[in-house]
Symmetry: C2
Subunit: 262 residues, 2 copies
């Protein structure tokens, strides 16, 4: 593995830790040598991707990503575009809705709109969504070309609960179902007591870029309601796609013009 990959993996691991971490702690979490870890941390810190607290010398995620993230959002406002629809879907369903984006080979949660109900599902931003064990993953993969389905189907499928689908046949069946329905369903595959439905958000060439997912406590769901959530999610996904790629095209054109004349 290249050095850059290692460093970015370190950054990733650090970002998934739920508190500031010491040097050795980071080292063991990444399976790297202490000296190496430190060199990485120092270099990452120089660019603001990591910061070391002056008080206790612990490390944490720095603020450079928020700057870059803002730049990206300013040019390619996926979140900005999607958030209103996420909120709307949450209000329509009354359940926690989350938005995920595909990036770096993985699907991860980038925004959550919490249900206002007392009994609700909690999801942390940054959560990774395995393809086989979540509604989001299923919806995403189902929207991909068959070769990606095959890759996912033949990869490892760790079980997170007793309900996780871990064999290829069931997985492929779920994909088929998702493709015919237009939305995916996952029943307690990732977390016990949670029932999710999801729909992929795709670009104009039908390449998926992320998905929008409704996560409800099992006790509040039945087949009819799930179907309702699923259809609502699919509709929201379609609307986000239109809004996003609509404005994007216009903006691209405007930028282009600006560049050519100025």
């Amino acid at each position: 593995m290249g050095t850059i990959s290692k460093a970015l993996t370190l950054l990733d691991t650090l970002s998934l830790m739920d508190r500031d971490a010491g040097l050795t702690e980071v080292a063991v979490a990444c399976g790297l040598d202490k000296a190496t870890t430190r060199r990485f941390l120092v270099e990452l810190e120089k660019h603001g991707f990591v910061e070391q607290l002056p008080d206790n010398r612990k490390y944490r995620l720095g603020s450079a990503p928020v700057r870059l993230g803002r730049i990206r959002e300013a040019r390619y406002p996926f979140l900005k575009t999607a958030i209103p629809f996420v909120r709307q879907l949450m209000e329509d369903c009354g359940e926690t809705v989350h938005l995920s984006e595909y990036s770096g080979g993985r699907l991860s949660t980038v925004y959550v709109e919490d249900s206002t109900k007392a009994h609700r599902v909690f999801i942390a931003i940054g959560t990774l969504l395995p393809f086989h064990a979540t509604a989001s993953g299923l919806a995403f993969i189902a929207a991909c070309p068959d070769k990606d389905v095959d890759a996912a189907a033949t990869g490892p499928m760790p079980a997170f609960t007793n309900y996780t689908t871990c064999d290829e046949a069931s997985f492929r069946k779920a994909i088929e179902q998702t493709r015919t329905d237009g939305y995916s369903i996952n029943r307690q595959g990732m977390e016990a007591g949670v029932f999710s439905t999801s729909a992929a958000i795709s670009d104009p060439k039908a390449r998926p870029i992320g998905c929008i997912t409704v996560a409800a406590p099992l006790v509040r769901t039945d087949a009819a309601r799930i179907r309702q959530h699923g259809l609502a999610a699919a509709a929201a996904a379609r609307r986000i796609s239109e809004a996003f790629f609509g404005v994007d095209r216009k903006e691209q054109a405007a930028l282009q013009r600006g560049r050519e004349t100025g």
Copy 2:
């Protein structure tokens, strides 16, 4: 320079380009070999920091930073805390107000609240703010220990306009003035026709972490008004600091408790 630094510099250059760039374009912009550049881009893409458009093979900033940025903000909500005060300051002054953060050895703009006036100052998110040529940089450095002032004072000071202060003596004088006033002033040092005032936002141990800056067209300013903006900025900075480090401490404590008991 280490490989990681080079890669992050590439990422940085890419983020500062105002459109998607081809391989060779990126390579020359970074002063790297084409092969190296490509290796970097591929590795960065694997982690979502860069994405290659399938249509024209051009590269652009990826979405991983927005995920990491969201994680950071969820834990350490600097923007979330500061934005209301930025907005308030904009309304009070009627001028564009921007918020900057120190990270990776540089001060950069992370948020902008545009004035509602037709004739106003425009600032792009991600803009780098040199210490000697901007009100923000001055405010920040003035809030640092003397050794940092010395480092900045003896470094190179490129001129951006005819008004930029480029000599050590004037720079030090400006720092002194800033320290006594509690806010900094910069008159056309970065851009002709722009007059800015800024105040540093510091942590409880008086270490600055960023600043808040009012940028007005020269024609709308006079000494009294500038002073007014400066004092307002200083007050806003203080309030942000209180709000931020107030909630932060509480959250830290809550997290700590959660960790210990669970």
